[in-house]
């Protein structure tokens, strides 16, 4: 069973993502901030990390950098309310798997996670 991590400072987002992704058979853990998420990452690897971009303290970009350092094979999907072009470019440069402006259509997120997970098998 693949593990997915969700990071968003609004609980409703984590709850909804957890509910829908669990339905697909994934083992999902959600976090309200970057720090606790990074702490968990030191204990366990995840197939996919879905993270909000703009958060207080450790933001999405820092999460991305840390994940890529620890687990280069882990796919990072960015979701954000701020569809900022400059940030997008910077993120693409750092190898974000996918990028969704909020509100995110859950169907699309599921498809992206599926692609990310299947990509790993290769």
């Amino acid at each position: 069973m693949h593990s997915i991590m969700i990071i968003d400072d609004e609980r409703i987002v984590g709850d909804m993502a957890k509910l829908s992704l669990s339905q697909e058979g994934y083992d999902v853990e959600s976090f309200l901030d970057g720090e606790s998420a990074l702490k968990r990452l030191k204990e366990k690897s995840f197939a996919v990390v879905v993270t909000d971009l703009k958060m207080k303290g450790v933001d999405g970009l820092e999460v991305l950098r840390n994940v890529k350092q620890l687990y280069p094979a882990t796919a990072v999907i960015m979701i954000t309310a701020f569809a900022n072009l400059d940030v997008a470019i910077e993120a693409l440069r750092d190898d974000v798997f996918d990028f969704f402006p909020k509100p995110v259509k859950i169907k699309d997120l599921k498809a992206s996670v599926k692609r990310a997970v299947e990509g790993r098998k290769i």
């Binding site: 509910l19 309310a81 509100p103 995110v104 859950i106």
Partner: protein, 864 residues
């Protein structure tokens, strides 16, 4: 391109306009149709932008999107701006005639922002009378009071008068007594996913005690004195029923029996405050907190209001479920009644009469079960309720006469229609036989367990009990028995046990949420406890009779709360479903907030432009404002073609050449004509305007336009010459037929001899922008004949689903928001109608004629 048909010199026109402005009382010079049309397009554009945002917000409620509060907040701000744009645009179009829309919009926007900030219940009056409450006050007065207020306005229902101590007063009490920090900490703990049980209980108890000891906030006692003083006096001392009205109560969740009610309270400020304080404190009682954690798992915040109503001296009272929840039969309703006050029914424990009514129509009594009623609750002389023994001759007598039952049934049906859902109703008949409705809320209905392998026989299991009792909530439950005896309350309920007890008390809520199933020896399916079982979807059988002696503490049993069988042991065949304990997101704070926002934004009250409440004052939501704005804009466009002299003087006017003996002058405001259209003798083929083409097509339909005018008798002609024709009509009767056209627009004023048609239409690909407006007035003969022709036109147009209004010889018809194809078809019909009715009124000799000629038209028989 300057044409020799322009009949005015630009510079002179400017000088003239300036001169006009200097003259007192003169309005600004008229604006060209093209500019008017552009302003109209601006209204459409803002409206569409706003409607898209509303649709976008609504889409998120479906659960298919990850959204956060930031999205909701930014969308609401965008919406406020878009609606503001619409209000500006419609006022620019209509010469600021609707300036008052700005105030309405500002008020609504403020309310939306307060809602988003969770502060709707901090501002407003301390007390509302029931009659003052409006739907937008919901957050301040709570669900129960909001429903009572709606019922108060209904002349068919009798609801005791009273007032509400608002959530603002509750918040003031919290602040005045320095409890805000403590409350916030408790609310946060409530929202935690897995709070420490002991800590939660400790904090809960502390805040409950604190509220019970709280001092009244400034102004409240005076306000109470005033409110009680204003209630009409009857000569007898005034007593009030003081009950809860929490924000979410009686909306999607009943909170049945969880909050305190204090009945028969003397109408003095101190007594009322003490009672209200008890009610407010019950927001933090163990049962209510357990209930809240179950249905709102991550929402700690909830405020409470208190309803105070005149006590009804109940002779009999009880409950009506407008749908029989036991059989899930929508054609039957259930009435449960007791002597005295209704608490006896909802708190279980006493014998009650049960009746079934068949809704029909006609409404009729289908079954009666009269019980032996030993006790009843009645209002005490000083305050509160007392339990009294029922007189011997009344014990076995029915609490309700047949007439009263039917009266109650009618009221229940009426309430179902009023609130558009099945209802759970509390009622009372007083000593003089008057029926009062005390409460009405949505009835909690659950569909039966979907999957169930129904075994034909389950032989290897002993049946403890079969066919006894009533189903309060369907389903299968299995687990170890845990007997609850309130006399020896232990407080610990083993999770997953089957709760077995004597009384069906609402105090069981803390246990119910941990129970696999519930069995009670007494009780009714309409009690508070039963309602909670349904809401929590815990299978429940009530009134099974003696069972406590038949089961042992801890032994495993299986309850089939569908076929009403209780088995010893676990019956695997029956255990086909597992209770899911997933997060119920639809009741999360964000979803509930979104639903509340959408209610204030998208509920449409201004439905029919022909109705009187279609006014600025009738606008309650953003959608209402948009609708009003759109209709006003359309009205303005309709009047565009009025002043034909001005139109002809100020614009390039091109005469058409048509194969029918009628002249039409065309004014193109952009895209209405083909680029190579000639200056005069414009043929049908040169018309690019979609709606105008459709109308012309109708007018040119074979047989529509005869070459011979109808025979007009001398009498008819004399009639028209000597009857006073309305002035407004008179100036339009003479003159030209003018069509103002754009690519997707037409405003056609058709003056055919003695009558007058206006067709105004916007018709293109954007369905939401399409509208058709038709007005017909006049005729050459007497009023009776002219009215008959109007009736004929109305009949025809109704067949094509127009919204039609007639008044004498005036017909107005509208259609809006339809696809382009259908709009073109409807315009074609209008074109045919214009030709067909040309002089038909002289034929309208008898009252049968409208129908006759309408039929002929609808059958395509255009030759009269």
């Amino acid at each position: 391109m300057v044409s020799k048909h322009i009949m005015i010199i630009p510079e002179l026109s400017q000088i003239w306009s300036r001169l006009l402005k200097l003259l007192p009382g003169r309005s600004a010079p008229p604006v060209s149709p093209r500019v008017v049309f552009e302003r109209f397009q601006k209204v459409l554009a803002s409206n569409n932008q706003a409607l898209e945002i509303i649709a976008d917000l609504g889409e998120k409620l479906g659960g298919d999107y990850l959204f956060d509060m930031r999205y909701v907040e930014s969308s609401v701000e965008e919406l406020i701006a878009a609606v503001h744009g619409s209000v500006l645009a419609v006022n620019e179009l209509c010469g600021d005639r609707h300036a008052r829309l700005h105030q309405v919009h500002e008020r609504l926007s403020e309310d939306l922002r307060l809602t988003l900030a969770g502060r709707e219940d901090r501002e407003g009056p301390l007390i509302f009378t029931l009659d003052e409450i409006r739907p937008r006050n919901w957050a301040l007065v709570g669900g129960k009071a909001a429903h009572l207020a709606v019922m108060r306005h209904d002349p068919q229902l009798r609801v005791p008068d009273g007032f509400v101590i608002t959530a603002r007063a509750y918040n003031d009490l919290i602040d005045h007594n320095g409890l805000r920090q403590q409350l916030t900490a408790f609310e946060e703990l409530m929202s935690a996913t897995e709070p420490e049980a002991d800590l939660l209980e400790q904090q809960r108890s502390l805040i409950e005690q604190a509220v019970l000891a709280a001092a009244p906030p400034p102004g409240l006692l005076d306000a109470l004195a005033q409110a009680a003083g204003r209630l009409p006096q009857t000569g007898k001392p005034l007593f009030l029923a003081v009950r809860s009205s929490a924000q979410e109560e009686d909306m999607d969740f009943s909170f049945a029996g969880q909050f305190t009610s204090v009945l028969n309270v003397p109408a003095q400020p101190d007594a009322l405050f003490a009672a209200a304080r008890e009610v407010m404190a019950s927001l933090f009682c163990a049962g209510a907190v357990a209930y809240r954690r179950r249905v709102f798992p991550d929402e700690g915040k909830m405020a409470i209001a208190v309803v105070c109503q005149r006590m009804v001296d109940s002779r009999s009272s009880g409950i009506v479920f407008s749908v029989d929840t036991m059989q899930l039969a929508h054609d039957t309703m259930v009435v449960v009644a007791a002597w005295g006050q209704g608490e006896a029914v909802v708190e279980g424990g006493t014998a009650t009469d049960t009746f079934q009514l068949h809704k029909g129509p006609p409404l009729r009594i289908a079954a009666r079960q009269v019980a032996d009623k030993e006790q009843g609750l009645f209002a005490g002389a000083e305050s509160g309720l007392t339990s009294r023994a029922i007189a011997k001759e009344l014990r076995a007598a029915s609490c309700l006469s047949d007439d009263e039952l039917l009266q109650l049934g009618s009221a229940a049906l009426h309430l179902e229609t009023l609130f558009k859902r099945p209802q759970d109703i509390e009622w009372a008949f007083d000593s003089s036989g008057q029926l009062y409705i005390l409460q009405a809320r949505p009835l909690v209905l659950n569909t039966p367990a979907r999957e169930k392998a129904l075994p034909v026989r389950v032989e290897q299991h002993e049946v403890i009990c079969a066919g006894q009792g009533k189903v309060a909530q369907q389903g299968i439950a299995a687990g170890p028995v845990h007997i609850v005896n309130f006399a020896e309350e232990t407080g610990e309920f083993p999770e997953g046990s089957v709760l077995v007890t004597h009384h069906d008390s609402s105090r069981l809520v803390t246990y119910i949420q941990r129970a696999a199933g519930v069995i009670t020896e007494t009780g009714t399916p309409v009690s508070h406890m039963a309602t909670i079982c349904r809401e929590f979807q815990v299978p429940c059988l009530v009134n099974v009779g003696s069972i406590l002696g038949k089961v042992r503490e801890g032994e495993l049993i299986t309850v089939d709360a569908e076929d009403r069988r209780i088995y010893r042991g676990l019956v695997d065949e029956l255990l086909v479903y597992r209770a899911t304990s997933c997060i119920n997101l639809m009741s999360s704070r964000e979803f509930r907030l979104l639903r509340r926002i959408l209610k204030k934004v998208s509920e449409l009250h201004l439905v029919d432009p022909m109705m009187q409440d279609f006014s600025i004052d009738g606008c309650r939501t953003c959608h209402d404002i948009l609708r009003f704005s759109h209709e006003s804009a359309v009205q303005e466009m309709v009047n565009l073609g009025r002043d034909e002299r001005r139109l002809i003087k100020g614009n390039i006017v091109r005469p058409m050449k048509l194969p029918i003996p009628t002249g039409i002058l065309v004014i193109d405001i952009g895209g209405g004509l083909a680029s190579d259209a000639p200056e005069r003798d414009v043929p049908f083929q040169a018309i690019a305007s979609v709606p105008f083409r459709a109308v012309l097509q109708g007018m040119l339909f074979p047989e529509i336009w005869h070459n011979n005018p109808m025979p007009v008798g001398i009498r008819d002609l004399m009639n028209s010459m000597f009857s006073p024709i309305r002035e407004e009509a008179a100036e339009q009767y003479s003159g030209h037929n003018i069509a103002i056209i754009g690519g997707n627009y037409v405003n056609l004023c058709f003056r055919l001899g003695y009558h007058y048609n206006i067709i105004d239409a916007h018709c293109g690909e954007a369905e939401q922008n399409n509208h058709l407006y038709y007005r017909f007035l006049g005729g050459v003969t007497d009023m009776t004949k002219r009215s008959r022709r109007a009736a004929m036109i109305a009949q025809i147009l109704k067949e094509f689903e127009f919204n039609v209004q007639t008044k004498g010889d005036l017909v107005t018809a509208r259609l809006s928001r339809l696809p382009q194809r259908e709009a073109e078809r409807a315009l074609d019909i209008l074109g045919r109608l214009v030709g067909y009715t040309r002089q038909l009124d002289v034929r309208m000799e008898s009252d049968n004629d409208p129908g006759k000629y309408a039929e002929a038209f609808l059958n395509g028989e255009y030759r009269v």
